[in-house]
């Protein structure tokens, strides 16, 4: 039997110092937070983090000093627009950055997924994105009559992709049930290996694949391992299973105000087991009651 089940800690054991890790989701939606917390309390260091559509994933790994280089288009908590730990780390010059446009990041993943070295784009032209010291952007000229010159957006190819989905069977057939899949499919296809945390591992029949085919983002051959991690996206959302936790996000935002506040937050929510984390946030019952946010 093909069985790809692992634990969250098993997945973190696959990561080594200096690796390039791609994180799925978007700002406050479907971030693989159980994995991020486990990385944050590990001894890992010098990671290149690809988190184009970043939020607390960037912030927590910045605050715990895991990042050597960050590839991103933004870091935001959406309802709280500025990511406070990202800000503190950036303002201290704590790591190198390659800042991209959101669409360029998408394009880089697509190139990676298609096994192309680059894809041409107009995006970046006329801006400082293509003038950063962190990467020497090159240009390509259309070979056709138009002769237009484009930015050659390099493929983004993480060693390991980490995403959070809703369901999986033990073979790694996954369902991402939210309305917006973001670009998790491209991230998985671009990466060398991909690990998925899911709310629940179920028998294949319970995936009801005929009805849910649209939510099956990639074929299982792309998935290296799956770990059951209920509430594993908290405090970001895993709609329709649960919504983002704005109260917790506020607590997190306030934890950036001083070293003491951060030490308190870290002791309570990071340096604990996932079971203790869940208890600290009120358990499944509280999380399932979270209201639908207003945008």
């Amino acid at each position: 039997m093909l069985d790809k089940r692992m634990t969250v800690d098993d997945i973190v054991d696959q990561i080594s110092d200096g690796m390039t890790i791609g994180i799925g989701g978007w700002a406050t939606r479907r971030k693989p937070m159980a994995l991020i917390r486990a990385i944050a309390r590990s001894n890992l260091k010098d990671l290149t983090l690809m988190a184009g559509y970043g939020g607390m994933d960037i912030g927590l790994l910045a605050a715990t000093g895991k990042i050597r280089k960050l590839v991103f288009a933004f870091a935001s908590l959406d309802h709280y627009p500025l990511e406070p730990h990202f800000r503190n780390a950036r303002q201290a010059g704590a790591f190198e950055v390659l800042e991209l446009d959101e669409g360029m990041y998408h394009w880089g993943l697509r190139a990676g997924a298609m096994k192309l070295p680059f894809l041409p784009t107009r995006v970046g032209i006329g801006t400082d994105i293509i003038n950063q010291s962190g990467f020497d952007f090159k240009f390509v000229k259309s070979p056709y009559a138009d002769g237009e010159e484009f930015v050659a957006m390099p493929a983004l190819v993480p060693d390991i992709a980490l995403i959070h989905a809703h369901r999986s069977d033990e073979r790694g057939n996954i369902l991402t049930l939210s309305v917006d899949p973001i670009f998790d499919e491209l991230l998985v296809r671009a990466a060398g290996k991909s690990y998925v945390t899911v709310e629940k591992i179920v028998p294949t029949a319970e995936l009801d694949m005929k009805k849910n085919s649209r939510y099956n983002l990639v074929e299982r051959a792309m998935i290296t391992g799956v770990a059951e991690a209920p509430l594993g996206a908290h405090p970001t959302s895993a709609d329709p299973d649960y919504q983002l936790d704005l109260k917790h996000i506020k607590t997190y935002v306030e934890s950036a105000a001083s070293p003491e506040a951060w030490a308190d937050y870290k002791a309570k929510y990071i340096d604990v087991s996932e079971a203790d984390y869940q208890a600290a946030i009120g358990g499944e019952e509280a999380v399932k009651q979270l209201p639908v946010p207003i945008y």
């Binding site: 288009a73 800042e99 959101e102 784009t121 032209i125 400082d128 309305v179 945008y295």
Partner: protein
């Protein structure tokens, strides 16, 4: 209702709505309460074909204002992340956004203040601004028209491309670059001066060109003759604005929610 009984926020909303007047059937994105309500006002009055979203992942039949909703809106289409890029790269979108800095070329910044490697203030990151800027029309809203926003040199990190020939390898921007209007707490401007120079096209009631120029880090052009006064909201527009924004979020944008005609106070 007397002529003076509108707020600065409502005056700005009407000016924001105007940016979509002649756009036809495009995705209209207004970032922030006043641009968003403005897009709604345009949709409910003179630009019914524009498509607006719920701020998350759906196009809605009726505009959705900021804050709490009485009921779930009717969804008319999906606007997930992938779809947003497809729409914007097609050019069929007009965004009205609120950067932190803008310069004489229309180059705009939401990334950092200071040095990019070790910024004095790290903000959002470039988001989708670079792609937006060269793909479809863009307009801008600034709640505080001052020299920190309208900077003297270039912005600290160019997230949105502008009309700066030095930034283009062949001297000319991509065809999609189309900067339309800038709406502030003082005036409405466009890029209609010589070589796309930013130009004042209307002054809010009681504001002078000199005041606008004094609060801008670069020389402004002005329309020929006497600069018009930004049109006051009509009674009908005020009703529509109240309908789109029943939570009165618009009253929280400017400090003390001042009157639209500052001389009315």
């Amino acid at each position: 209702m007397t002529q003076n009984s509108y707020s600065l926020a409502e005056l700005v909303i009407v000016a924001c709505a105007e940016v979509w007047r002649d756009d036809g059937e495009v995705m209209a994105t207004g970032i922030g309460p006043l641009p968003r309500i403005g897009a709604g006002l345009a949709k409910l009055s003179f630009a019914p074909a524009i498509q607006t979203t719920d701020g998350e992942a759906w196009y809605t039949s009726e505009p959705v204002g900021p804050g709490k909703r009485a009921a779930e809106p009717e969804f008319e289409g999906i606007a997930n992340y992938d779809r947003v890029f497809s729409a914007l790269w097609s050019g069929r979108r007009h965004a009205l956004v609120g950067p932190v800095q803008i310069d004489r070329f229309g180059q705009a910044n939401i990334s950092v203040i200071g040095d990019h490697k070790k910024p004095k203030a790290a903000m959002l990151g470039a988001r989708g601004f670079p792609g937006n800027s060269i793909s479809h029309p863009n307009s801008f809203f600034f709640a505080n028209h001052n020299k920190r926003a309208f900077v003297e040199g270039e912005v600290d990190f160019v997230c949105m491309a502008g009309y700066n020939p030095a930034r283009y390898r062949n001297g000319a921007p991509p065809q999609g670059l189309d900067l339309r209007r800038i709406i502030t707490n003082l005036c409405v401007m466009d890029f209609g001066g010589p070589d796309h120079q930013i130009r004042v096209i209307s002054l809010h009631p009681g504001v002078t060109f000199e005041e606008v120029q004094d609060n801008t880090g670069f020389p402004l052009a002005k329309v020929e003759g006497e600069i018009p006064v930004t049109p006051a909201p009509t009674a009908e527009q005020l009703e529509l604005i109240a309908k789109i924004d029943p939570n009165n979020v618009r009253a929280t944008v400017f400090k003390d929610n001042p009157a639209g005609d500052r001389r009315a106070a």
